[in-house]
């Protein structure tokens, strides 16, 4: 029962943090870059681990942020100086980084507490077993799952950034050229956003893995995009849809006795589909209504 709560709490924080970052990615048309960073941070984690022999939070985060920003910068350089399409350059860089990460894991498999399956798909059901212990291993106090604390800290950082820098992020996202003309440093805010993406994806790794984190970055935010009338509304809606997907997904996984993270991703997709269908239905009804009304109003 307690472990169920830990899983739900971790999944909720992952989903909501991803939905916030994802909303900005969608609006900036950079969901592919989010996808890229979520994969390439793997290399960051592995390198950080090999360099320091530690799995502590600051080490993992700095490794991920470093490689995440390198991904964004390198794809941009490849696009600009190499004259390649921007989506192609992103695809080249992140797959390369991810592949190097996978090779490193298999080379040092014995030394690294990272399993390839787990990295790709995540296993949130195991989250409660890897806990943080305050003090001695035997007598210390069990503070709860490591993954939970990690995403909690990152969630707090993302939330604080969005709240404090809301105005700037809105301007830069809405119209970068206009932001430049107002003297705002657009490049700084781009890399700031990429830092948030890197931190969020690495903290979501344990829970949902590199592939499914993309679903949480993109789907709830896209669902909200279909309905929202303002950025604030979009962020709230995306968080709501993310949480809904977690709850439905958890129930689905329980019922089917299958992977929790995959069920959450599927539920997010189902919610999106439901919204699309509802919107089509609503628009059709609106059209038939106006079609009925217009001959009358013409008279």
């Amino acid at each position: 029962m307690i472990s169920d709560l830990w899983i739900l709490a971790t999944a909720s924080l992952v989903a909501v943090a991803c939905s916030m970052v994802g909303s900005f990615l969608i609006l900036r048309r950079q969901s592919l870059l989010g996808d890229a960073i979520s994969h390439s941070v793997l290399l960051g984690i592995v390198l950080a681990f090999l360099a320091t022999d530690s799995r502590s939070l600051p080490v993992m985060l700095s490794g991920a942020v470093l490689i995440g920003l390198t991904t964004a910068w390198l794809s941009d350089q490849l696009h600009k100086t190499g004259q390649l399409q921007s989506d192609a350059s992103i695809g080249i860089v992140f797959t390369l980084f991810f592949a190097v990460g996978v090779i490193l894991i298999s080379l040092y498999a014995g030394d690294i507490d990272l399993d390839q399956e787990c990295v790709l798909y995540g296993e949130i059901a195991f989250v409660p077993f890897d806990t943080v212990i305050w003090g001695d291993l035997k007598t210390g106090i069990d503070l709860g799952p490591r993954a939970f604390w990690m995403i909690l800290i990152v969630f707090a950082a993302v939330l604080a950034s969005v709240v404090v820098f809301y105005q700037r992020l809105q301007t830069v996202t809405f119209h970068p050229t206009l932001a430049v003309s107002l003297g705002i440093n657009v490049v700084f805010w781009h890399y700031f956003m990429m830092t948030l993406v890197s931190m969020t994806t690495v903290a979501s790794f344990d829970a949902v893995g590199a592939i499914l984190v993309v679903a949480l970055l993109v789907i709830p935010a896209s669902t909200a995009y279909l309905l929202a009338k303002s950025l604030k509304q979009m962020l709230w809606m995306a968080a709501g849809f993310a949480e809904l997907a977690v709850l439905i997904g958890y129930a689905l996984a329980f019922w089917l006795d299958s992977s929790i993270s995959a069920s959450i991703a599927v539920s997010a997709g189902i919610v999106l589909l439901a919204v699309v269908v509802q919107q089509q239905f609503y628009q059709r009804r609106l059209r038939t209504q106006t079609a009925i009304q217009s001959p009358l109003s013409a008279n």
């Binding site: 301007t171 809405f174 119209h175 206009l178 430049v180 003309s181 003297g183 009338k229 303002s230 950025l231």
Partner: protein, 266 residues
């Protein structure tokens, strides 16, 4: 003219400006100065580099060579007093944002990055929306506005910036009569305050009624000066190349005005 009212430095001085797009020269060796407190049109055929010139001046696209000074200073010192209105096509109209928030962006240059717009900022934005007769639309999402209304929102944003110099990229393109009137009204108000307006303009028919000055451009600067002396048939021919294209442009604009008049009678 009272010379003491005219500041020593012109609002814009461009010296030997050259720009390229993918190795292809777009503008070569453009130099001009514009006077303060006037409305200035930039005209020229499609692909002549009108928008590019505006973007180059605003440092939105790189210059190959040349200098741009605003009141004798680099743009970095004059950003807040220079308002830029981009072309309507460059804006993501599906973005979830309402009219008021767009106009408040005009105040962002004055705010530190953690600050929210103050009551005074909101009042300035409100006045700007009222000036452009868009106040009742303040809560609308921008996607729910007509083309002309969208243009007015962006002009209100520029107005809220309280700049001395306004650079606008085709504000009259594809707008309705109400918006055209609102923009002209805005020009009069700004001019009365001694502010300078530079517009990329496509409609040759209205240049002499809406603008005091004209910059004629076709990859180079063809002519610059007051409309009465500069907008001559020779200069027009030099700018628009062959007689045929000029004729086409004029017939098109005439056709458009007739069309508008026809609509007005409806």
């Amino acid at each position: 003219m009272n010379s003491s009212l005219v500041s020593a430095q012109p609002p814009i001085r461009v010296t030997n400006l050259s720009m390229r797009y993918h190795y292809k020269p777009v503008l070569t060796d453009v130099s001009f100065e514009i006077p303060e407190g006037k409305t200035i049109a930039i005209i020229g055929p499609n692909g002549a580099g009108k928008s590019t010139l505006l973007k180059g001046m605003m440092e939105l696209e790189p210059l190959i060579e040349g200098q741009v000074e605003f009141f004798g200073q680099p743009l970095a010192n004059k950003r807040l007093t220079t308002a830029y209105v981009p072309q309507r096509e460059e804006i993501d109209w599906d973005f979830p944002i309402d009219v008021m928030d767009v106009v408040l962006m005009g105040r962002h240059g004055q705010l530190k990055f953690w600050q929210r717009p103050s009551a005074q900022d909101k009042q300035i934005a409100e006045q700007a929306l009222k000036d452009l007769k868009m106040w009742e639309f303040r809560d609308r999402q921008i996607s729910q506005l007509s083309g002309g209304q969208q243009q007015r929102v962006f002009l209100a944003r520029a107005l809220a910036q309280q700049a001395n110099l306004y650079l606008m990229d085709e504000p009259f393109a594809g707008v309705d009569m109400a918006t055209e009137k609102a923009i002209i009204g805005l020009f009069h108000t700004l001019k009365a305050q001694g502010k300078t307006i530079v517009c990329v303009h496509h409609d040759l028919n209205t240049v002499d009624t809406y603008f005091d000055w004209v910059l004629m451009i076709n990859a180079r600067l063809v002519a610059a000066g007051p409309v009465e002396t500069t907008l001559t048939p020779e200069n027009l021919q030099k700018t628009f190349g062959s007689r045929l294209s000029l004729l086409n442009d004029l017939t098109e604009t005439m056709y458009r005005t007739r069309l508008n008049q026809a609509h007005d009678h409806d």
